[in-house]
Amino acid sequence: MEVEALQKAQEDIMSETTPLFDEFGRCLPTGLSSHAHQKTRRYFLIDKPEIDYAASYQRLNQAFAISDALSQEQFEKRVSSILDGIANDESMKAILNGVKVPFILPKALYDDIGHAMDTVYLPAVASAFHTSFPKYEFKNHSANALNGQLKVADNSRHQNVLEQMASDVVVGVYFPCLLEYSVPAAVERISSLPKQFSLAGGFDTSAAFISMPNLLLRKEGYPPLLWLSGLASVEENVAYHYEAYGYDLNFNRRVHLGQVAEYWASGITVTS
């Protein structure tokens, strides 16, 4: 028992002092048995967007009608609280060097994640994208096809986000920092990160796109594909994702087979 306690204490010390993210905010792929690139040439990237709280709040309120439960000021305060908490932790603070997207999720409890994506979240992304970029297109290649198709991925901690949603409006920050990770590696990595980190799934990632519809709009280079790794498909080796197609935004599914690609990334969510 003493040995175990000692080991745990050592692990705690390590986790407090060892950086978990590189200088660009990428989550370091440490100790993984699943596929992830150890080194990156930083080719598929998201341009760091400026946070415009007023614009994000307006779009999120348009989508989820949360103004009665949460003001813009409260939104900003809660996001700042999340960011400050991370900034004060030596091992975590480098994640702030990367892309971060504040978002709000409504208080809601869903029987079927896929149905909620079909009826609430994907139409809301479509609306936010269309309003921001009327010349471009949001294309949902799985339109009305998600009923019964999605569940929380085991060990992804994504259940934490859904449980919070069940009790209150949720404020969070989305970090697409698992660059060049396979889907299984993203799940594996989250289990060794501090407890406040959850793997992003459908609602939080969609809310991030509502908050910043331009997240994957990149004119000078290609952005990565963003998996919803916090969710598992009922089909083996299939997962869902957002992806740019030129100036357009796509939602789609594809077979991943546990493989890694330079182009593939997943996101982490931290909620207040």
Binding site: Y43, E220, R254, E262
Partner: protein, 371 residues
């Protein structure tokens, strides 16, 4: 090349496309079945690349942007003063490639070159591929494609013609192709192809800045009005284009073209189609077999992933899919857009006389994205 996923799924098919598929099912049920299986193969993580077959590089044109120029005897002998001394594929080899491809579920061959219609043994090549087992496409400049030739091609089992058209302006096309009269021949070939009941695809090379020009829009409109797809190939910094780096596109060109796909019947090798979103199709969607039996992962990459005289097709494909540049999903064109890979390719091929570079000299199992 053809609209890669057009044969993959019957989802969201136009009436015209559906009729074509039903026609193929009636005439060539085995081929139709294989094409229909491609979608499920992809769902299992298997690949079904089109095989471009370059048996001969003989050509009656000398185009400004030709990717095969450096493979041609005229270049080897007149420019480099060397001979092609490598073993050349023959009809028996093609029969064997066809058999291996069939065993892997592959379903499509493009006969290219060079100019296929100057090949004396073209009919034998089509027969060796076996049009009852594979969907056969012919990639031609159209110079010799009149009514009689189109009907003949249909009669020997060719299903589709891919015809090069580089501008809707006659003088520009002829200048780009370095062949006066070639535009008129393309127009004749379009009518001949349609008249013979062959499927038709127009192909054009896209150079930097072109997608925003009215002339390019006119070309897109022409194809759309004809009811024919316009396949757009980015100019790559290889072959004759090595001397024209200014042709190589920028991301904006690719993105403008992606927008044009909504308004015109125009597409690239990376355009999603019928549920298939491959991105760059190296190995996954296409390979080229050169006259020396080398397999390249794309028509414009002069690095081999294996030689079919030495290595079975399956092993060559597996090797390609393991390669970090070639196997993983990516949205951009590796040889047309990735500066690091273009640099590696340019440096390794500089001074080479016999292309492609064999396995181990260009690509190898030690390749890394970050080294």
């Amino acid at each position: 090349m053809l609209n890669l996923a057009a044969e993959q799924s019957d989802n969201v098919l136009s009436a015209d496309e559906l009729a074509k598929r039903e026609g193929l099912r009636a005439r060539k049920p085995y081929v139709a079945e294989k094409l229909a299986n491609i979608y499920s193969m992809e769902e299992r993580g298997e690949i079904s690349p089109i095989i471009r077959l370059e048996k001969s590089y003989l050509c009656n044109f000398q185009c400004t942007h030709c990717s095969a120029e450096y493979y041609m005897d005229r270049h080897l002998e007149k420019v480099l003063h060397v001979k092609e001394d490598r073993q050349q594929i023959d009809l028996e080899n093609i029969r064997d490639i066809s058999r291996q491809a069939d065993e892997l579920g592959l379903a499509r061959f493009v006969i290219t070159g060079g100019e296929p219609l100057v090949m004396r043994d073209l009919d034998d090549v089509v027969a060796a591929i076996d049009p009852d087992k594979h969907y056969v496409i012919l990639d031609t400049n159209g110079w010799f494609l009149d009514d009689a030739k189109a009907q003949h091609l249909k009669s020997i089992g060719v299903e589709k013609i891919q015809l090069s058209l580089d501008s809707i302006v006659e003088e520009e096309h002829d200048e780009f192709r370095n062949k006066k009269g070639s535009y008129k021949r393309v127009m004749r070939a379009i009518d001949a192809t349609i008249g013979a009941g062959l499927n038709l695809l127009l192909s054009t090379v896209l150079i930097r800045g072109q997608p925003k020009t009215q002339k390019f829009l006119d070309l897109c409109q022409f194809a759309t009005d004809k009811g024919v797809g316009l396949y757009v190939s980015y100019a790559k910094p290889t072959g004759s284009c090595t001397d024209h780096p200014e042709f190589v596109i920028e991301k904006e060109d690719a993105d403008v073209l992606r927008q044009l796909e909504k308004d015109y019947n125009v597409f690239t090798h990376m355009t999603p189609s019928y549920g298939s979103h491959k991105g760059c199709i190296t190995v996954k969607g296409i390979i080229t077999v050169t006259s020396s039996g080398e397999v390249t992962p794309c028509p414009y990459i002069d690095f081999s992933i294996g030689n079919l005289f030495e290595t079975p097709l399956k092993e060559v494909l597996d090797r390609g899919m393991r390669n970090p540049w070639l196997g993983p999903h990516r949205p951009d064109c590796l040889i047309g857009e990735d500066p690091k890979f273009i640099k590696i390719h340019t440096e390794k091929t500089a001074g080479a006389t016999h292309l492609p570079l064999p396995w181990g000299k260009g690509f190898s199992d030690n390749d890394s994205l970050t080294d």
